[in-house]
Each structure stands twice: as structure tokens, then as C-alpha cells.
Symmetry: C2
């Protein structure tokens, strides 16, 4: 079986090939050219400009101090630049992971900042370890169990949760944590009077400017006939612009004291600290479910972006090496005062568009960020939290994915159901429970579907060798032969159904002498179904009807032979395809 | 789609047909003949002879008073005789259900007999209600999720647990309850000195006699040239024989006082009492998991036996009506001082062999048992518990199913794994957890398998229209065409794998101009796979390779059309089958 599988890796690979596989930098560094430098340098600078405010904003979303978001963007980026197979993926703090970190740490209700920070690095260490282990075990396939509808429902709901979580920063009053969306929404609505008007005005102003950068600026710059690779990066500087405006406003007018506008405050300057996760078993156990969710969701987000970008340039990403790269980066984040990171959609697009050619772009971003935390932190003191909230709200508004929901509705009501259930479950039961319910729903729906497979009575199309559904095509068939095609693997959820379907089909055809089970769509027969087939054969034979099987595939036939099923049924009753069976049976 | 489904029921059925469906007695009673009477009467008497000692023994196994097993065999049998579609299934107390009842009641550690009895009837009411509801909802299919290997592993482990649980009655000393097999075994081993030698001797004697009835008596009677339908029933009287011998021994020698042999004691005479289940929410919640397990496992056991027996006589059983019948019987058991029942293998075989023709055999058994509880109970007072233990041990020894384990091992290692995991989990983690783990394992293994489907490069066999795996058959193919058959529905667990396989196959064929994805084994395409197909189409087209699909089935094509996927790919790129695709592409 495996020899026919084109997905297999060749077995005899040299040491150099192996090294290149695990250290992708060896693929691009020896061929590095001057042309690459320009692209990587420009991309590195632009991503830094985006990442500084975003890093702080997402740290705020994770309910961590602003500098944690910056620390998480230095050494981890450097590591990813060396180990990642994607040349353009920009890793760092991202919105959904930050939300999950807030939820994971929140369950402990930490009493001190140091406790909070310890939980953040512990979570990063756990996420990194899980990803690293999955990568080494080449178990990247497990993210495949997150179907698109489930992911889409999850992302949309998470975006709404994130948006709402920032209302408190935007409006300047405290909102108690709740897993349930409607409670939070109701609290904000009924406590509107607590709103800090100055904060709110700054935040809304920030949102409007960001929306202009996003939807208006591009068109206006196009009138100036600027090239596209200048326009796109410029439209991404919105966050930096509102950070500067917001900071100057608060600092100039003293709004932090006069109007009680909440600000970031003192951000300590200096190198990222060396930190160690806790090894307390109880804490690790309590963090495990959220760490697992973050590992998978974070990886999933990154690998999707990386694949999309790689295919545009005919490059390849290796899913398992990506797990190793992002896992190591997360462990690095844990050791340098950061928190869990992932490959982000927005920054990666910017990195790609502004001309990043290799992982060096990430390394440049890391160096520039290091410079920022060493020398620029005093500039962030008067940055109002409402500006960071504005950045988050505009960023996540993109993630609400109505298009996929509509598309799924039209294609498959069952898949839409799993999308909708995930969406509601995440909003009302929380992130982890929500995604678990989503995955379970999609699996159960699939199993339910396979338990009642489509079955077609088939007949010959004209004089061809093709036999298809008699209800869809003009077909002919001898009255004493019945050919039934069953469109599913035969296994325990549908074994009984098979028995019933064949029983009824035979009962409805009194003239029947030969029954042909067409197995072209049967990819697997398990022991439960095997027993049913044996019973069917015995019952039909006793009633004077011959039992035949056509189009059984190689791997399925191998298994049947191994236990002597072919001799039990009679080897002469197996046919290459339906045509051969019908021709042979008609002459009997 | 549904019009092509031979499993569908006709819609316009008359009232009489409907009545016959829900009251199967109407099918046989009007045609009842004198020939039927003899068979039913003899079978009814023989089953009674088996059921009296077995009913008491299984009640003991369920840790209930002996009479509960008798009460459960009166009204429920009568009801099943009227409602059951199987004419030969003998319902009543069975070993595995009794074990589960013991485990369900044991969790409450009831302090009084009345509390224990209340829990027993409550459990019967819950089991009955669940079965009745499932039957009315026509949801009998859900038992299909119990695969044969899981059931086999479960049954073997349960048989061992049951056997061990009877050691205490056999050896006459108390063994504390434990979920873990090795703990129980160790306790018995280390406390061997507490053994009551007289009890043990009676029990072992009983076992030896039963084994003789089972393996020796039949052959010896055959020497006397007795007809088979006399021999078989006679060999089943073993339990009655040892009950009589054991009772006479204890009564005659006064062993219950002189040697402290444990006996059944006074069994109250009289009609089954009228009982009501508790409606306490907390109790119902705690009992729910075990009630659900009993409903499914009990039903599964019965329906398997009923189907096997019906097929021998060309009769039919209706799975949903069977749920209604056994559900109503369990509710009847709850109202008349019984406990949960099911269709048993051993007694049904005897019922069938001794000539039962209709449900009247069950009704006769019920009447005879009613007579026993009214007048014969004083005879059971001196019956030693060791004899009942002997009956149970010999009965369950049959259930240890090594044959299926070996067969499964040869056919499929993955299915053997789910059998083995279920077996160990039931032994070490208990019955409910064990069966849940088993079901989960079998589903996960199935999903894992479908996530890495078999893929074959196919070519034309000779001059036929059949295209098969190039590695298995002598085939021919034009070098600029690659036809790949993927042997699985395309859905989220394998969507990424599909992308990878096609990508590698294309990369390995530099001469390629036309790619054909053969979908004869694809029974379903979900939105995740759809996106992959769209990407593949775009990527290949950009590289100057045409993307074609062949043999897409009707129901799959309908869905693709609904969202315009066919026009996106180009309708001219869809072919009826691989042959048509290759012929057409070769001429381009």
C-alpha cells in the first residue's frame, strides 16, 4: 500500500539534507544576495513600526503589562528567523492567543503582578513544549481535526469577545470578567454612566483615523501615482500615527491627571529579563487545557498564513518543522519575560508586501525591537490605553467572518450547524469549551452522515462500460441482476444499515437471481461490516440468489484475502468492475 | 437523493398495517394453529425450568434479594410476548445487565433493603424509558456506534468481573467492592484462609455437575438415540438439578447452621408487589450514565440474538419496535418489583431449540413463574448461595470471547487495539468508563485512518475502460496525463493531506499537462476540502496544468453545482469517468 503513496518521503537522505530540514536558515543564507538585503531591511523596519504598538496592545488584551508584548517580540522572532520554513511569516503577539492567555491566567485570579507574569511565562513554556513535541513526533496532522467551519465560527466569536473586552479600556471603566457574552454586554450597557468621556473620545478618534488609513488613505495615495509597494506599507502605519497623536494629546494637555484618562504608565527600560516557568504540578494541570488549545489554534493560524504566502511565490512550508520553529520560539518567549506568540495574519501580509525575502526580515525586526525596549520606553508612558483598545478593535473587526458563514450555509446545512454551534458556544461558554464543543459537533455530524450512506441501484449507460444510478441516467439492466453501489466505507456505524438496505432491495425484486454489491466507493471494511457481508452471502445463497462483489479495491481485497473471506464467498464471485460482473452473470 | 434509497419505508400504509407494526401479536394470533401450541407449550415449560434458578442467581449477582429476579421474569415477559417482533427471544434477567445494576446501585451505598429495592426499580424505569423514547424516535441506529470489537472486549472483561464477583459467594466470605480487577483478585488471594470449606465444596460440586451437563450429557444421551429436540432441552436442566441437590444437602445435613453455609433464606410468597420508582432529581442524575449504558448494551445483546434466530427461520425483527417492546417490558419490571432485563442468549437459544413458534411461549413462561412465586418459594429457603454462584460462573465463562480477539488481530491491528483497550479499561476502570473509552477509541482510530487515505496513481487496463492502480495491474497511460484516485471522502481531517499528495505527485511529473482527480471513491466533499480543491485548481492552472475531475457522483455533484464550484473549475473539466477524461484529454 505504502509504495503507491506519493506523499511518502524518500528514505535515504544525506546529512546536509537533514540539517537543511531542521535548520532552514541553511537553505537561504549561503545564497543570500544584495537584492535580498533591501527587501528584508525595508520589511523589517515596517513590521517593527506595526509591532511596537500592536505588541503593547495585545499585551493589554492578555491583561499583562505593555512591556511583556515587546519582550515576546524579540528573542522569539530571532529564533523563528533561524528555524522557520516560511520566509515571510511574522510571528509575535496575536489577538486570539492573547485573549486565550487572559482567560487562562484569569482562572487563577492572581493577586500580584509577579504571580501574573509567572503564569504568563509558564503558559508560553507549556505551549512551546506541546508544539515542539508535536513537531518532533510529526503529529502536525492533528490540527486537521479543526474543520474550516469550526475555525470560522470560533474566530468570529473570539473577535466579538475581544472587541467587547476592550470596551472597558475604550470607555475607561472596569468591567468584571464573565464567560458569558450577554452578561458582559448587559453590564456595559447598564453602567454607561461610569464612562470616562475623554478616554472614549480619544479611543473613538483613534478608531476613525485607523479606518481612514484602512479604507481611505490607499485610494488617496493612489491619486499621487505612488507605487503599490509604497502605498501598502504606508496604510499600515495607522497604529503608529494614533499612538503618537494620542500620547502627545495626553502629555500636552495633562489628561491623565485632569481628566483621569488611563495611561500605559512607566514601561521599564532594559534588556528582556531572564524568566523561568513554574514547575508546580497543580498549576501545570490547571493550565494544560488552555495551553493545548493555544498550541493548536496558534499554530493553525500561523500555518494557514504561511502556506497562503508561500504558494504565491512557489515556496514550500513544512508543517512539522513549522511546529518545531514556533514551539522553540514560544519556549524562548517563556525564558525572556514574554507570553505565548503565533504567526499573525496582518503583520505577515505587510512583511510579504513590503518585500521580505528571507527570515532575516524577522531578525531585523527583533534587533529594532531590542533597541526600542532599551531606549524608547519612556516615550510610551503617556500612551492612553484607549488608543491601544482602538488598535485591537479595528484589528479584530476583520476577523468576523460572515462570508464563510453564508457560503457554508449554501453548501451544507450540517457544516453550517457546526459553525453556528461553535460560534454560540464560544460566546456563551467560553473559548476552550466552545472549541471543544465545535470539534465534537463536526465529528458527530460526520459520523451520523456516514451511518446512513447514499445507496444507488445502478445500470449500464448505453453501450459503455460505465454503470451509474438508474434514477439519474438512462440505463439498461437485465431484470434478474441487481447491482447496488454503496457510497461509503463499510464499518460499524453503517453495518446494520447495509444489511437492511440490501435486504429491502432484494425483497423488492422477486425475479432476482444475481446480486452485485459494487464496492468502488468502499475504502475500508471493518470486522462489524464483514460479519454483515458474511450473513448477507449466506442468506442470499440459501434463497437461490448469487452474492457477488465488484470493484473491490486492492488494499480492501488484501485484507479480505488475509482472513479467507474471498474463499468463503467464492473467488469466482469477485469481479474487477460492475461491467465484468454483469457480462459474466448474464451468460450464466 | 432519498428517492434512490431502497431502505425507505412506503408512505401510504393502512391502519391495520400500522397496528400490526406496533402490536406484533396481531401478526401471529389470528393465524395461530394447534401445531404452534405444542411447540410454544414445551418451550415455555423448559425456559421456566432454566429461568427460576437463573433469575435468582442473577438477582444475587445484582446484589438484590432472590425474589427480585423472579418478579422481573413475570409481567415483563408477558408484555414482551405481546409487543416483541422476535418470536423466540426470551427476555429476563441477564448476567451483564445484572452486573451493571450492582455497580449502579453500589455507588449509593444504600443503608437499607428498601432503599436498594427503590434504586433497582428506578433503574428499570429509567432504562425502560430511555429504550422506549429511542424506539419511538426511531433512533435504534445509535447502538451501531458500538462496534463488534468494542462489544467483544467489553463482554469478555465483564464476564471476568462477574466471575470474580461470585468468588465471595462460592468461597463464603465477604470481598469489598472495587472497580479495579487486580485489587479484588489480590484480596481474595491473600484472604484465602477465611474460606468456608463446606460452601466451597458445594459450589465446586455444582460447577462440575454443570460442566458435565454441558459437555458430557449430550454425548451420553446421544448413545440412547434420543431425538435432538429432547437432548438439547435436557442438557439445559443442569441448573435445576444442582439447585435441587444443593438444597437437599443443606436442608438434610443442616449445613446452614452446623457449617455456616450461606443460604438464600426466606423468599416471600405472593404476587409481585406494585412498586414505583423515585422521582428525586439527584438520584435520577446519578443513575443516568449507568441507565444509558444498560439501555444500549441490554438492547444490543437482545437484538443480536433476536436477529440471529429470526434469520434462521426467514422471519424479520424490527429494531425500533424491539426497543419499544423491551423498553415497555423494563417499565413493567419497574412497576412490579423487578429490575432491568434484556433478551438473553442462552435462554433464547433454548426457547428456539425446544420449538417456540410465537410470543405465546413467553406468555406461558410468565404464567408458570407466577405460579412459582405464589406456591414454590418455600422450597428455595435452603438453597445455598454457592449453587447460584456456580450457575453464574458457568454461564459467564462462555462469554469470554478469545475467538473474536484472535480473528480481529488477524484482520486489523487497529480494531484489535480498540478491543484490547476496551477489555483492559473495563477491568481496571469499571464498566461505564470502560465502554465509553472503547467507543471513543474506535471512533478516533477510524478518524485517524480516514485522515491518511490510500491514494493510487491509476492507468488503463489493456483496452478496457477500467483504470486501476499502476502498482497492482499492468496498465498504460499517456505521459502527459496523471490520474490520481483518492480512496476516501474529502473532508477536514484529510483536506491538508490531499493538498500535499497532489502537490508531490505533480512535482514528480515534469512532463505533466493534465491532472485528473478520480472521485469514484469520494462520497462527500466538505467546505474544508472544497477550499483545497479550489487552491489546487488555481495553482495547477497557473503552472499550465489542467485540473480535471472524473467520476464525481450525483449527490456530490449536486452540492458542487449549488455553490457554482463546477463553473469555477470549468464544466468542461468534469468527466463521467476516468476513461472519458483520458480519451478526451489525449486528443487535445
Amino acid at each position: 500500500m505504502s509504495t503507491s503513496n506519493p506523499a511518502q518521503m524518500p528514505k535515504n537522505i544525506t546529512l546536509t539534507q537533514r540539517l537543511k530540514k531542521y535548520l532552514p536558515i541553511m537553505n537561504w543564507l549561503p545564497n543570500y544576495s544584495r537584492a535580498d538585503v533591501t527587501g528584508d531591511l525595508i520589511a523589517g523596519i515596517i513590521v517593527t513600526v506595526m509591532l511596537v504598538p500592536q505588541g503593547m496592545a495585545y499585551a493589554l488584551l492578555a491583561e499583562l503589562p505593555a512591556q511583556v508584548g515587546l519582550y515576546a517580540s524579540i528573542i522569539p522572532l530571532f529564533i523563528y528567523g533561524l528555524l522557520g520554513t516560511s520566509r515571510t511569516l511574522a510571528v509575535g503577539p496575536v489577538a486570539i492567543v492573547s485573549l486565550m492567555v487572559a482567560s487562562g491566567i484569569g482562572q487563577f485570579a492572581p493577586q500580584s503582578l509577579s504571580e501574573t507574569l509567572l503564569l504568563a511565562v509558564t503558559l508560553a513554556a507549556m505551549v512551546g513544549s506541546i508544539q515542539l513535541i508535536l513537531g518532533i513526533l510529526r503529529a502536525g496532522f492533528i490540527v486537521n481535526f479543526l474543520s474550516h467551519p469550526v475555525l470560522s465560527g470560533f474566530t468570529s466569536a473570539a473577535a466579538i469577545v475581544i472587541g467587547l473586552s476592550q470596551l472597558k479600556n475604550l470607555m475607561g471603566f472596569d468591567v468584571p470578567r464573565s464567560q458569558q457574552l450577554h452578561e458582559t454586554a448587559w453590564y456595559v450597557f447598564t453602567n454607561m454612566s461610569l464612562m470616562n468621556v475623554a478616554s472614549f473620545a480619544i479611543g473613538v478618534g483613534g478608531i476613525l483615523i485607523l479606518l481612514y488609513f484602512k479604507f481611505g488613505l490607499g485610494k488617496h495615495l493612489a491619486y499621487l501615482s505612488l507605487p503599490k509597494n509604497v502605498i501598502v506599507p504606508l496604510t499600515k502605519t495607522g497604529p503608529l500615527v494614533i499612538v503618537v497623536i494620542g500620547t502627545l494629546l495626553v502629555w500636552g494637555m495633562g489628561l491623565n491627571t485632569s481628566a483621569d484618562v488611563s495611561i500605559v504608565g512607566t514601561v521599564p527600560a532594559g534588556l528582556p529579563p531572564f524568566t523561568m516557568p513554574t514547575l508546580e504540578l497543580e498549576t501545570l494541570q490547571a493550565l494544560f487545557p488552555i495551553a493545548l488549545t493555544i498550541s493548536l489554534v496558534g499554530y493553525m493560524e500561523g500555518i494557514s498564513v504561511a502556506k497562503a504566502l508561500a504558494s504565491k511565490r512557489r515556496e514550500k512550508v513544512d508543517p512539522n518543522q513549522e511546529l518545531i520553529a514556533i514551539g522553540t520560539s514560544n519556549i524562548a518567549s517563556a525564558l525572556t519575560g514574554g507570553y505565548p506568540i503565533a504567526g499573525g495574519f496582518g503583520r505577515s501580509m505587510v512583511n510579504f508586501t513590503s518585500g521580505a525575502r528571507t527570515g532575516l526580515a524577522s531578525v531585523i525586526t527583533a534587533v529594532l525591537l531590542l533597541f526600542s525596549v532599551l531606549f524608547l520606553t519612556p516615550l510610551f508612558t503617556y500612551l492612553p490605553n484607549a488608543i491601544l483598545a482602538a488598535i485591537i478593535i479595528v484589528a479584530v473587526a476583520n476577523l468576523i467572518d460572515v462570508k464563510t458563514a453564508i457560503h457554508t450555509w449554501h453548501y451544507s446545512k450540517a457544516e453550517f450547524l457546526s459553525l453556528a454551534i461553535t460560534f454560540v458556544a464560544v460566546l456563551e461558554l467560553g473559548i476552550e469549551t466552545g472549541i471543544l464543543i465545535g470539534v465534537a459537533t463536526s465529528l458527530i455530524l460526520y459520523l451520523y452522515r456516514t451511518s446512513r450512506p447514499h445507496v444507488a441501484v445502478i445500470g449500464r449507460i448505453g453501450t459503455s462500460e460505465e454503470y451509474r444510478n438508474v434514477l439519474r441516467y438512462e440505463t439498461t439492466m437485465q431484470p434478474n441482476i441487481l447491482a447496488l453501489r454503496i457510497d461509503e466505507s463499510l464499518y460499524f456505524p453503517n453495518a446494520t444499515y447495509l444489511e437492511q438496505v440490501v435486504g429491502n432491495a432484494v425483497a423488492d425484486n422477486p425475479e432476482l437471481e444475481h446480486f452485485v454489491l459494487v464496492c468502488s466507493a468502499v475504502n475500508f471494511i471493518d470486522t462489524s461490516a464483514l460479519e454483515v457481508l458474511e450473513n448477507l452471502n449466506d442468506t442470499l445463497t440459501e434463497n437461490g440468489i448469487s452474492f457477488n462483489m465488484a470493484g473491490v479495491k486492492g488494499p480492501v481485497m488484501d485484507r479480505l484475502r488475509k482472513i479467507g473471506f474471498d474463499t468463503h464467498i467464492g473467488q469466482e464471485n469477485f469481479y474487477l468492475n460492475c461491467h465484468e460482473a454483469c457480462e459474466s452473470l448474464a451468460t450464466e
